[in-house]
Amino acid sequence: MYCNQPPKKPGDKKEVLQKITNMARANSLWVTAYGTGCGSIELRPLGTSRFDMERFGIAMRPTPRQADVLIISGYLATKTLKRVIRVYEQIQDPKYIMALGSCTINGGMYFDSYNTLNVLDKYLPVDVYVMGCMPRPEAIIDGFSLLMKKIKEGRAVGWKHYRENLDYYRENQKQIIKNWDLPDYNW
């Protein structure tokens, strides 16, 4: 006679689809094979039989067009920033950034260097930080599982944040890259 259930929200079906998609995204992370700093030396063992990242569905892709994750592996030099921006903007949405090492958090041992960025999050939207100098492969796997959790919960939205606040990021990027010759909208 009476309905004691609250009315179903419209778009429940879409939510289910989104959940399935998020599960798929979390379990199939393709990483751009692009090492920016010394941390990329710790990425290599991930593919070997000892750590085997393929069991989590993580794979290296040789081209940013096909990747989901960009790993900033350690310090980011001012010269590399331009290339990283180009690579990041060529990745198709949704895309995630994982930052390795203390250098990406606050500059680490290069905090007073003339050519190293101190806080990466001002220039590109970081989804997951993995601390350490350098983080061991176990720590990187831990970072990946955190990223997977965030994606499943729909909280890994750095790419949306980047689009919405493009002006803020561009302003910061242009402070570092003096001879700016990139197109303003690059994807």
């Binding site: 998609t21 379990n27 199939s28 069991r55 040789p62 081209t63 067009r65 198709q92 949405d93």
Partner: protein, 295 residues
Amino acid sequence: MSILLTVVTALVWGLLLGGISRNVTAKIHGRVGPRVTQNFIDLWKLFRKTSSIHHGGMFWMAPLFRITGAIAVLLMVPVVVGHNINYNMSFAGDIFLLLYIMFFGCLGMALGAGNSGHPYSVVAISRGLAQMSSYELSFSIAVVAVAVGLHTLRIEGIVAAQQAGVSSWNIFRFPFASAGALIAFLPMQMAYPFSIVLAPQEIPIGPPTEYSSRFLSFMFSGRALFSVAKLLLFVNLFFGGASSWMALFVKTFLLYMYAIVVSSVFPRFRTEQSIKFLWLVPTTLALVDLVRVML
């Protein structure tokens, strides 16, 4: 309806075979390996990604060409012998049309990837076309040897001639032609000694360098379909066809594993080595049987 059944079965089986092969390769490397269903997950993820890359009309069409070519091959090969549940476009002389139409997807892919303008794509395409012309030769000679020996140009006729037990399979009646065709099967599957087209460490991924999201998901499904179509063709031509679904899955699985195992233990040829090998060894093997049949 039967067309849909054939295509969906082939797609699911192709993706599953891909997952199993990734697992087998991982086990050979001493790794755990991904889930068997990993390819389905990858496909869904790619399908749901945005795509904002435009490189012209042919670039858009290439994945469709690939899928169309794969489906065309699939529909011309009998899936389960004696069952009408699967659509089979059979007519006299279909084996020759099939030899031509197998090129269709690859050529469409070459045009599309060429349109993307990426240097790695262009290098890979020139390598791929050179290699294709060399393995197609040995494969064609092997098929002609079988067709002449059995006096039929229908694939159904070739399958029907092998139904009198294992000893009547073409691999035993035409051993040299079969050996030649099985070597040509490796470059068709882009398996390792001949993987000069994708060549991951040289020209990062070859033709699909610029392809992303939905394009790539279409390309993956096209590849899965095409590899099942090729497996079916080989099973029908040399291994007596499949009399039941079980036989079909077992035979195609074993044939696929042959390519995977060879692929896991060999390094890659250089382009000229690959082409020289394919012109010399499998072609000579196939010619031996052709001459034997004609004498």
